[in-house]
């Protein structure tokens, strides 16, 4: 009756061998192709370095003006702009300007990459149910797998640094982008699509003129979510060498520096709120034509 009380498992030796074989296989793969794969990601590395250099080397008043200008352009609201100004001034005053700029540049690159990969994937997914069935479980894995676990192979392949951090953040942050693009396109009014067909639109014309514009509010919500999740990931990414606000937090955890932790944590919250309010206000402004004036 032993099997009844203790789950009968694979014998220890085979299990150990299985793990060993897989680990060795992956290690061999890394040794053989690691450099090639690193080369593949070189353009990303340049992009990251350029973005970071721009954010940290440009004098702070200019960066501040640029951010405020973007906030104004997107939201057209003095309240949002004033909120941004106060938050940024506080961050600078508490000597977190450089780290914040590093984080912002990282988030910027992650968002661009997520949009560049996520929107086309979402479009493909919306066009075929089979594609949706294949991609959905992958997204589930990406969202639920503890991020530390996929950091291991990424670090083995690419070492410690910005690019593996970027990959980890994108894996974590891209699912809402893909899902909401797919959802947005699937929810487009069938009557309007039929009208587009009736006028002889090609599938590209339908996508460009009807599906994407009508799905835009949902896609904007996806971008917003992606940014928020990327920000949540920066602390974990700092474990594999991503500089920015995550590193002081890591240091604070290791040494029990309460104040250091809370300051940097609040800075992350601050820029999250800036990103959120600005992108939401922009999304709302895009939707102005939806306001029902005539009942």
């Amino acid at each position: 009756m032993d099997w009844f009380f203790k789950f009968p498992h694979m014998n220890d030796d085979s299990l150990r061998n299985l793990k060993k074989v897989i680990d060795e296989g992956f290690r061999a793969f890394t040794r053989a192709y690691g450099d090639a794969i690193e080369g593949l990601f070189a353009p990303l590395q340049h992009f990251l370095i350029a973005a970071e250099r721009f954010m940290t080397k440009t004098p702070w008043p200019i960066i501040m003006l640029i951010i405020l200008a973007i906030a104004w352009g997107a939201s057209r609201s003095w309240k949002v702009v004033a909120g941004c100004l106060v938050t940024l001034l506080a961050i600078g005053y508490f000597d977190m300007w450089d780290d914040t700029m590093r984080t912002v540049s990282m988030i910027f690159v992650c968002t661009v990459l997520s949009i560049a990969i996520g929107i086309p994937t979402g479009i493909l997914m919306s066009r075929s149910d089979r594609m949706q069935r294949v991609v959905n479980p992958v997204l589930d894995v990406m969202q639920t797998m503890p991020s530390f676990v996929y950091l291991i192979p990424v670090v083995m392949l690419l070492g410690i640094g910005k690019v593996p951090g970027l990959i980890a953040v994108v894996i974590y942050a891209i699912p809402p982008m893909i899902r909401l693009t797919d959802l947005g396109i699937r929810l487009v009014d069938k009557d309007v699509l039929e009208a587009a067909d009736a006028f002889g639109s090609s599938s590209w014309q339908k996508l460009k003129n009807v599906q994407l514009p009508l799905a835009l509010p949902t896609i904007m919500a996806g971008i917003n979510q992606t940014i928020m999740m990327a920000l949540a990931m920066v602390v974990i990414a700092s474990m594999i060498g991503v500089q920015g606000l995550g590193q002081p937090v890591l240091k604070a955890i290791a040494n029990q520096y309460f104040t250091l932790g809370i300051f940097n944590g609040l800075a992350i919250v601050g820029i999250a709120i800036i990103f959120d309010r600005v992108s939401q206000a922009y999304g709302k402004r895009l939707q102005k034509h939806r306001e029902v004036v005539h009942g």
Binding site: A195, A198, F199, G200, S201
Partner: protein, 345 residues
């Protein structure tokens, strides 16, 4: 306007069955399997059964039926938004059913334009950009498209609203945009799928007038779907009545009102304002040889209501019905007219 000759639309032996094995049941339906039997035995739905309609060029063909009669399915076969299970749809002599994807797209861009019940405007585009959508899809250059679109926006009475968004307009105005969008295409066929059903009665009358006025100059082949017999009788040069996917009567408004094919149609016709629909020719008596020659006259094709109006406001006791050349055709008096307007036989 298209200068070239347009040959109208011919629908021949058209069948539509909804279901996974539609094609295999056409033969059985041809041999008399009914809609109920098909549904009960095979789980397939009979959408359209043996439709044969000839729509001459330049006429308004109304297809009337209640919901579920297959009228919206039928109109979608003309530009093949729905594929038929069997049959032919000849538009200007070309079978739409046999077209490949490219040909079909070209056909939809240049031969047909459609107006929808729920307007189906693009909410993120203003009136102007909605109107020129068809032209944009055709690849017409922007300046030219704007020119054409502006002309039609003005023609449907929306001048000054070009930069409004659909949500800022009332239903009637939105459908004017739908009409302008369809007319900008300058396609010989205009498909109107319950285009006015979502509008208030007064606005609907208004839009019917817009269509009739426009049709006098544009002379398109219009296919107009409606569930409203009054609308059908007012607009239709020809009317086909559909029930359960079958055409149960085809003819002019006079045929439908004076000679309903069965009790179902007779039942509809009962509610119609006969005085406004029936023409005086249908009730006139032959002109007596001794009838005074200088009596009041009325043009053939006028309605009973028109005739009563003339008699009620004038001194004449009766009216002579004349053809456009002035030849007397018959005579009507107030009593005949009044009894024709109120009785069923």
């Amino acid at each position: 306007m298209a200068d070239h000759h347009f040959d109208g639309i011919r629908i021949r032996n058209l069948y539509k069955i909804f279901g996974p094995n539609a094609a295999s049941h056409v033969e059985a339906v041809r041999n008399g399997l009914s809609k109920t039997e098909l549904n009960a035995q095979f789980g397939h739905v009979l959408g359209l059964k043996d439709i044969n309609i000839e729509m001459p060029s330049g006429c308004i063909q109304v297809i009337m039926g209640l919901s579920g009669s297959g009228k919206s399915t039928l109109i979608r076969h003309i530009n093949r938004l729905i594929d038929p299970t069997a049959g032919e749809v000849l538009v200007n002599g070309v079978d739409v059913v046999k077209m490949n994807e490219m040909e079909l797209r070209e056909f939809r861009r240049h031969q047909t334009a459609m107006v929808f019940q729920k307007f189906a405007l693009l909410p993120h585009r203003n009136v102007l950009d909605n109107t020129l959508y068809g032209l944009e899809v055709q690849g017409v250059e922007r300046a030219k498209a704007v020119d054409t679109a502006m002309r039609w926006i003005e023609r449907v009475g929306l001048k000054g609203f070009e930069s409004k968004y659909p949500n800022q307009l009332s239903g009637g105005m939105q459908q004017r945009v739908g009409l302008a969008r369809a007319l900008s295409n300058d396609a010989p066929v205009l498909l109107m799928d319950e285009a006015y059903s979502a509008l208030d009665p007064l606005i609907r009358m208004d839009m019917q007038t817009v269509l009739l006025d426009l049709q006098k100059e544009i002379k398109k082949t219009v296919v107009f779907i409606t569930h409203d017999l009054d609308e059908a009788l007012r607009l239709g040069d020809q009317i086909a009545i559909l029930r359960d996917g079958e055409v149960i009567q085809q003819g002019t408004s006079q045929d439908i009102v004076l000679r309903p094919a069965d009790a179902y149609i007779a039942n509809f016709v009962k509610e119609v304002n006969r005085g406004r629909v029936i023409h005086v020719e249908a009730v006139m008596a032959p002109v007596a040889p001794d009838h005074p020659v200088n009596g009041a006259t009325l043009l053939a094709g006028s309605s009973i209501e028109d005739a009563i109006k003339v008699l009620a406001h004038g001194d004449a006791k009766d009216l002579i019905v004349v053809n456009p050349a002035g030849m007397p055709l018959g005579v009507v008096d107030l009593k005949t007219l009044a009894s024709a307007a109120v009785t069923n036989n």
